[in-house]
């Protein structure tokens, strides 16, 4: 009886320990957010083909819309004009479980897309035009939003929201306000596990009003000048 109990407690503890290890692996320390793994590295090294990418993107446009313009209600982000590196990281992260996205997963898994498809789609999306018709906020708190952006965001996402292809920082200009707001909230609350911890730290203390203001500001960054 005692042995059984000890065994149960033992296996329980072992289970707990492995959960902790897994969780720690998922959360990651600084640098882990973009640690290399085979499939992502492979896709990044491939030469993407725009024409093939356009054909492969067909299964994405039911949600991300024709021209990858996304939806102003924030349900699906705009992908047009995003850096190929960012797209490859995010797409690879979704299908490898590093970023939770149950809605998208079946459309991005190994049955639906090859690694070459990912490289091609990213190449196609990167050169798509970004029309200046993205959804915006109510515009009531732009001064505050601008201050927050300059203080906490501009050093990585760029003064004009252009991001950095090299550093895997996404372009935020031209993105829909509702999407920026939703993701900022998710990042602040730890729901986006593949985020740079510096980003989580930067907005850790943001109130809802702060998130709304900075998202509104970002959604109004001029796209044409950024390109």
């Amino acid at each position: 009886m005692n042995t059984m109990l000890t065994r149960s407690i033992g296996s329980l503890l072992a289970g707990f320990a492995s959960t902790v290890v897994l969780a720690a692996g998922n959360l990651g320390g600084a640098g882990d957010w973009n640690a290399p793994y085979a499939e992502k590295t492979e896709a990044l090294a491939m030469k993407g083909d725009v024409t093939r990418g356009e054909a492969a993107f067909v299964i994405c446009q039911g949600c991300h819309r024709v021209g990858a313009l996304g939806r102003a209600d924030g349900s699906y982000p705009r992908l047009a004009g995003q850096h190929a590196t960012v797209l490859i990281k995010q797409l690879s992260d979704v299908r490898s479980g590093r970023r939770n996205n149950p809605k998208m997963l079946p459309f991005a898994d190994h049955q639906s897309l090859s690694v070459q498809d990912i490289a091609d789609i990213a190449a196609y999306l990167q050169v798509l035009p970004i029309p200046a018709d993205q959804g915006q906020g109510d515009g009531k708190d732009l001064v505050h939003g601008g201050q927050l952006y300059a203080k906490d965001c501009a050093s990585c996402h760029g003064l004009r929201g252009e991001g950095s292809a090299e550093k895997f920082y996404p372009r935020v200009s031209g993105q829909h306000y509702r999407y920026l707001q939703r993701e900022a909230r998710m990042i602040r609350d730890g729901g986006r596990r593949n985020t740079n911890p510096e980003m989580v730290e930067a907005i850790r203390n943001y109130s809802e009003a702060d998130i709304e203001a900075v998202s509104d500001f970002m959604s109004r960054l001029p796209v044409e000048k950024a390109r």
């Binding site: 067909v58 994405c60 446009q61 039911g62 949600c63 819309r65 349900s75 149950p102 639906s112």
Partner: protein, 214 residues
Amino acid sequence: MNALKGNPFTQCLRYALMTCLRTLNAILLPLALLMPSLALAADAKETVKTVCAACHGVDGNSTDPQYPKLAGMDQEYLMRQLKAFAAGKRRDETMAGIIAGIDPVDFSTLAAYYGKLKPAPGNVKDADLAAKGKVLYDDGNTESGVPACAGCHQPDGMGNARFPRLAGQHQVYVLKQLADYKSGRRATDPLMTTVGKRLTVDETKALAEYIAGL
């Protein structure tokens, strides 16, 4: 459509004729299987007349809505479906019996034949329901993650080699396919399995009604 609206006598006659044809097929096909020389002798065109046409029509526009219109569908798509039926990846009691009697070398000729035919328009019975279907077809459902059908099947439902033509298809057939994707009975495309699982029954009804009018 006219046949459906014909007088009771014509309808009766049509029904009797179809039943006879189906029964004949049910008897003749196994017989043909028992006599390989006979089955091989029949060329693809003959197969259309003696086998396919009973359900899908000689012109590829079936009149019985449980059988799909094949006219104007992409040849590659039709070819893939024939292979899927033969391999048991797509299951249908009627087709299972029939596919066994068709020589696989004839698949491409059959697909080409039906692909080149002119599709007949469908028959929308409920305009309000079709209007609801249009919203879903064009925009999807962002809550449940149903993508817009238009994304793959194109806004006009014309389809292509990868995604089938939907325009003008029978409601009954479309509903059956969506239900089969949902249940896993049809497993020809993992994306459609996902879509099938995410659609509600009411949504599938609206979609089928809209698709009939495309």
